[in-house]
Symmetry: C2
Subunit: 199 residues, 2 copies
């Protein structure tokens, strides 16, 4: 049986994250947690409860130099961040390929569109091949989290690339998107929305 | 239109890989190419020909220290390799979730089973949730490449974990697996086998 902290993180003795989360449990609810942290906990819950198999991809890194010290782990001493060619999250849910990006914004009335060319091209491909593709957007100001179908992002991104506005207005997200219920666990229950919207 | 080198790599003026591959074109066929390189070229072909969207995941790295020099890119100065929790490749093909691992062996009569616990657990989950899961195995001695369904790997891995032999005999792979046709392009046409076996 998995034991969960009051803040919803599963307890693992060997897990360093568990220690961090003990400290964090002094915060109430998920104040102070980033969207990425919340999604990691959510995905781990989905995995452990056998609901879905969805992972965040590792950060792409160009490794230039590695030291191999005797009797200890290989140490990367020079590396650089590379641009991702895909979205950050993918996996399988109820037999379907699921693919999404997570975006957090401090803006109150819009989601800025910037440097998303690769992700947008990737999402178009996913949609075309029959996958489920969307963006999870968190407005930090209100702590609201929305699921927005990739087609809406693609539409606004292409308008922007053709000289249009460089953001999606929040009122569009309110109208076209779906508010994701936030609970103790799963923290950001986006698969409930996926059920309603896509399945 | 994409132009391809004689060795099957697509030509891109801006692509450093193209320069490397110009040098490599002095090799004939795919001698000297690793399975991973061949699969990267194959997946890029599938992507550009709009056949499937399948990527190798980035190598998971634990980043400990990053320098931010003025007027140049952030430089990672200390990082360590982490164990992957999943297989290396996943994506979507004809609406289906596809997930696989690639293994190359110099052994002539067997594929060793070692340190694959995470991958095997992951593959079991993928199968259970309705995904297509397999291993691509290259015997470097004969240059043969096989697709073997994940269930066979899982079966042998679990026997091994219970004290059984620490490898899959090649004769099992010949019987249960499927030889993947190798061509100029796509180099390792594993989706043709996926068509026949799963779809």
């Amino acid at each position: 049986m998995t034991i969960f902290y009051p803040n919803g993180k599963p307890y693992k003795e060997t897990d360093k994250a568990a220690k961090q989360c003990q400290n964090q449990s002094a915060n109430y609810g998920n104040r102070g947690m980033t969207l990425e942290e919340d999604l990691n906990i959510t995905n781990r819950y989905y995995l452990e409860e056998d609901i879905a198999v969805i992972y965040k991809k590792p950060t792409p890194v160009q490794i230039v130099n590695v030291d191999y010290p005797k009797r200890s782990a290989a140490k990367i001493t020079e590396a650089y961040f590379r641009k991702a060619s895909t979205t950050d999250y993918n996996g399988i849910y109820r037999g379907k390929y699921v693919d999404f990006e997570a975006k957090e914004t401090h803006h109150e009335t819009l989601l800025p569109l910037k440097n998303h060319a690769h992700q947008v091209i990737h999402m178009k491909r996913i949609k075309k091949h029959g996958g489920i593709g969307f963006v999870i957007i968190k407005f930090t100001h209100t702590n609201e989290v929305f699921l927005l179908d990739a087609d809406v992002l693609i539409h606004y991104w292409e308008k922007q690339a053709a000289g249009g506005r460089k953001s999606i207005p929040k009122k569009v997200i309110l109208k076209e998107g779906f508010l994701i219920p936030q609970k103790i666990l799963p923290r950001i229950d986006y698969l409930r929305v996926v059920n309603d919207v896509y399945l």
